[in-house]
């Protein structure tokens, strides 16, 4: 192996890349465009839940309860119902996601110190929003209830939970999405970038030329990798800066740690792309295979949004062979938790294994082709 020849291959690849505007757009613009698009469009913060109200009590207290809902900022009253039967239609049409039903004897119960039941009907169709809406409703009613009861007589609550949220104190979904997104997008882009490189040589017939030169296959694979690792590091830098500056995601960890981890991840992901490229020999097939191998797994099985702990065992086992899983842990860990190598070393080991495997596979598949 000679560093001289390796660099020559790298230079050749860079020149070739510069002449291919489509690949350049894919490499430089797509990642940042996707980060901006996702970052702005996606949010799981549930706000403006449409609230239907059936106030059969129509007293000061019942109006105060409704006001507690609207002033929380999570609910907007969209429907005022007159009859119980209207609730069905309002939920079915989606005019209201939550319907609050206050019975006629609401104030009487409260005044008498009896528990005052209030009913909430929830559109369970969208389970995700419904669960969160239910939590908000619970919290609002509990707060209101405490106010009312405490106003009457002074009783200290028997149990107080000092609840605190770490790492993402306001539970903002953007802080979860942006760091994970960098990992997901980079695993797709990296595999796609290199998926084309060897297949292209094959399709254009330049593979024989390459084989005729005295370059060793290890040098070819590593040389081809160099420009892409550079592009990948550039993309990640851009994405991290965008995350911090535009989306205001806290960055609590160490930049150098992130850089080293990113390098490891990129070598693995790019190696995978190169293996696909060498194995299928056609550019069309290579892009499709790269997409299939990375897109859904990176999106769904990486722990980006959907927590791995709640998956059934077979799927949980599969997540161990999804490289994005480790990189998602790293980006979230470095961004939000500010953890160091002492916590992230298992992920580093996993990514080294993937990088070695990716490169070995690429080199072996490449060998078969020339022979």
């Amino acid at each position: 192996m000679s560093p001289h020849r390796l660099l020559a291959v790298a230079r050749k690849e860079t020149i070739q890349l510069r002449r291919d505007p489509r690949s350049l757009i894919l490499a430089f613009l797509l990642p940042i465009a996707l980060i901006l698009f996702f970052g702005y469009a996606i949010s799981f913060d549930v706000k403006n839940i449409s609230l239907g109200v059936l106030d059969r009590s129509n007293t000061n207290e019942s109006r105060r309860l409704i006001e507690a809902f609207t002033s929380s900022g999570y609910f907007t009253v969209t429907e005022r119902l007159a009859r119980y039967d209207d609730a069905d239609a309002a939920l079915a049409d989606g005019r209201a996601q939550l319907i609050l039903i206050i019975p006629p004897d609401f104030q009487k119960n409260l005044d008498a110190g009896r528990p005052a039941p209030v009913q909430a009907l929830l559109d369970g169709g969208d389970a995700n929003t419904a669960t969160i809406a239910q939590n908000y409703a619970d919290a609002i009613v509990a707060g209101y209830s405490a106010d009312v009861v405490l106003a009457g007589r002074r009783v200290a609550p028997p149990l107080v939970a000092d609840a605190r949220v770490w790492y993402n104190e306001a539970l903002e979904s953007r802080n979860m999405i942006v760091p994970g997104l960098i990992a997901v997008i980079m695993s797709i882009i990296a595999a796609m970038l290199t998926a084309l490189t060897i297949a292209r040589e094959w399709e254009r017939g330049t593979m024989e030329q390459l084989a005729a030169t005295p370059v060793h296959r290890l040098e070819v694979v590593l040389g081809k990798l160099v420009p892409y690792v550079g592009i990948g590091l550039f993309d990640v830098t851009l994405a991290v800066v965008a995350g911090i500056v535009i989306f205001q995601v806290p960055f609590r960890g160490n930049v150098i740690l992130l850089a080293v981890m990113t390098f490891l991840f990129l070598v693995g992901a790019l190696g995978l792309g190169m293996f696909i490229s060498a194995a299928v020999k056609s550019q069309v097939l290579a892009t499709q295979a790269a997409m299939v191998a990375t897109y859904l797994p990176a999106l769904l099985l990486s722990g980006f949004i959907f927590s791995i702990a709640t998956m059934p065992l077979p799927l949980r086992l599969i997540t161990y062979i999804v490289p994005a899983r480790y990189y998602v842990t790293v980006t979230k860990g470095v961004f939000l938790k500010g953890v160091g190598f002492n916590v992230l070393w298992p992920d580093a080991v996993a990514m080294i294994v993937f990088a070695t495997m990716g490169l070995t596979l690429a080199i072996r598949a490449f060998h078969k082709e020339i022979a």
Binding site: G124, A127, A146, N175
Partner: protein, 371 residues
Amino acid sequence: MNLHLLRIREMVKKELRQLFRDVRTRGLIFVSPIIQLVLFGYAVNTDIRNTTMVVVDHDQTAEARALVDAFTASGYFRVVERSVRPAALVAALDRGDAEVGLEIPVHFARDLAADGPAHVQLIVDGTNSNTGTVALGYATRIMQRYAAEHTPGRTAAGVDLRVRAWYNPNLESRVYNVPGVIGVLVLLMCLLLTALAVVRERELGTLDQLMVSPLTPAELMLGKTLPVAMIGLIDMATITVVAILWFHIPFRGSVLVLLPAALMYIVAGLSVGLFISTISKTQQEAFMTMFLFLLPSIILSGFFYPIRSMPAFFRTITIANPVRHFLEVVRAVFLKGAGFEALWHQFVLLAVLASLMLGVAIWRFPKTIGR
């Protein structure tokens, strides 16, 4: 434009033969629905079950153990680590081994028995804002119930919120996600099969053969799209059956409502596929264009990112997205048993969008095949 049924039939036969001969296409048609169903049925899960928890119990009394039991008995929490050192809690959350930490101080039992409020410390990992929000809600509710049971008479009667979720009483996210797969999968088939099929003929040079045949452009268009429409409908039926029988998703509506919506949706998807084939010269280009269309249309469809939480700008864009309207129809038909009167809004928009897209395809298609 006159149509010959016989010629169309022959063309459809040829297309079907071509589609099923290709191993890759066969895989796409039969395997990808299964993979997607498994992933979206099992992996895409926002239910909070078995949330991992670390307990630091300084009190070591029966009361403290009862509180921990209240957490585990709810089914929402699973204790993965018990310790008496506060540092263990920090480490478990940093490593991601636990998502929730509960610290019970000394004198917990004593304070609970006496008048003074007993404090416990609850720490939630906010890295995943979804699960964090929900876990916090459940934990609070569990502790309220615990307080009510263990200190009878001291918890004041207040407002008692009774929540009932309609359509999906257990708020399972699967019930929401699996019907959505229908929309995504049918779109994927329509786009991929039509866009690539036409471009492939062009790349292979067989498009010229078709052009010298007596087929009119309209016949050619129908011949290309009808088989794909058939596959789309078959996929839809398969997923519906699996969703009902395997995942036990309730189907409360009528197929007669679903079918017209599906047909309009398929027309829209096929038109976009044809359009992509007219603006792409190679399969590679067609595939990339398709990806760039597919990604935003799925993200902005409400498939798993709620539309309500999007900024106004993106919410407005979703009105032009047929996937959004079709998903609303599918989910309403499945879960709510909705009929035309509740869904006319979506039907009108689907019809408008489908005719617009079909119009563009009809305008562009004959030009590109050279007539």
